[in-house]
Amino acid sequence: MDQIDYNVQPPHLYPEYKSTILRSPTKPLMIVKEYLKDLSLPAFGESMIGKFDNDLTKNARKNGEPIGERIKVSGKVMDEYGRPLHNVLVEIWQANSAGRYIHKAEIHDAPLDPNFLGAGRMLTDAEGSYSFYTIKPGAYPWGNHFNAWRPNHIHFSVIGHQIGHRLVTQMYFPGDPLFEFDPIFQSVPKHARGLLIAKFRMDWTDPEFALAYEFNIVLNGKSQTPFE
């Protein structure tokens, strides 16, 4: 079985997302599993994670609370057999509640928030779980086509245990009316798009504090025989 499951993964070239046209490989990728599949990735340690790295409502405060709707995002990182992956580095970044990135090259003129950077990181625990607090990101326009807007999303970078575990993806929010207009979201085959949408979890809410979402991540890895 192929390691990359193109039934759920986007293609490399998706012309509606214009930047793929000049930046995607034109030749088929070479399959060389025998030399790469067992290559482990570095294990990151707790010592590399700062105290508030998993709380984006606190880690960039200057003179007050960041503006916007506080949320908690939690989930599990697993392999394709549902086995939890511990000690996986999860890094995140996002726009603020007004839909503005703090990035210097960002030109969208929504307000910056002096108390919000929009960056965080954490490691999964022994059960493969991670959790962070943040501010719900806003939608924003971009230059792909006339009246292009990105749905609300949080970027995820994941470093697991082997080279096939390296994943960069985006988490979206349920019921976003922009889904059908966004070529990046649409690049994923229709039946698999739900895998990128977090589940609203009333039962995980912090009462009087933050609504909660669940986003689980399943990593592509070597097809070893699972434990029974």
């Binding site: 000049l22 070479m30 570095p42 960039a60 993806t169 990128l196």
Partner: protein, 193 residues
């Protein structure tokens, strides 16, 4: 055992820098790794790795991110956290292409030893706006006997050169220059993992 569906990949977008490469781009957040894979205590031949990434029109890409993952001088992969052997070698580096006006990248590291009989090499993972997947490739060294490397030998002969970095001595420093091309005659060989 039932197989779960993989989480689909998405682009890193143009605005990763303040999270993934914060210090390089002067944001107020620390970087977990950077362009230095070593410190003064690391054993091995000091080298620089430079290059650029070019799009299908031959323009250098300004919003890409490169990760390197390599063995130490003895051919062993290390596990972070760094300083495990107290020699400052991380084996893992990360750099964006947006802080140099020509969109070059420059890593400082050591030349890796041979791993399991393969020619010395560095694993490269590439991300950029417009790339819906992480892309994997390998950098080999022009002054090594690469013809016997099993992976490189399995690459079509006419494309092997795209995986070999050229050794140069610049002001007494050893530099390997490794350009990557997304498309065109010199399109880099990328691997499916």
């Amino acid at each position: 055992m039932e197989r779960l569906q993989q989480t689909p990949s998405q682009t890193v977008g143009p605005f990763f820098a303040y999270s993934l490469t914060a210090e390089q781009y002067s944001y107020e957040y620390n970087s977990i790794v950077n362009e230095l894979l070593l410190d003064d205590n690391t054993e091995g031949e000091r080298i620089y790795i430079t290059g650029s990434i070019y799009d299908g029109k031959g323009n250098a890409i300004s919003d890409a991110m490169i990760e390197l993952w390599q063995a130490d001088a003895d051919g062993n992969y290390r596990a972070l956290p760094i300083n495990k052997k107290n020699d400052g070698f991380t084996g893992f580096g990360r750099l964006g292409t947006g802080t140099n006006e020509k969109h070059h990248f420059t890593f400082k590291t050591i030349k890796p030893g041979s791993v399991n009989g393969q020619s010395p090499h560095i694993n490269v993972i590439l991300f950029m706006r417009g790339s819906l997947h992480a892309l994997y490739t390998r950098m080999y060294f022009s002054d090594e006997a690469n013809y016997c490397d099993p992976l490189l030998s399995s690459v079509e002969a006419s494309r092997r050169q795209t995986l070999i970095a050229e050794r140069k001595e610049i002001n007494g420093s050893i530099t390997y220059h490794f350009d990557m091309h997304m498309q065109g005659e010199k399109e880099t060989v990328f691997f499916e993992v």
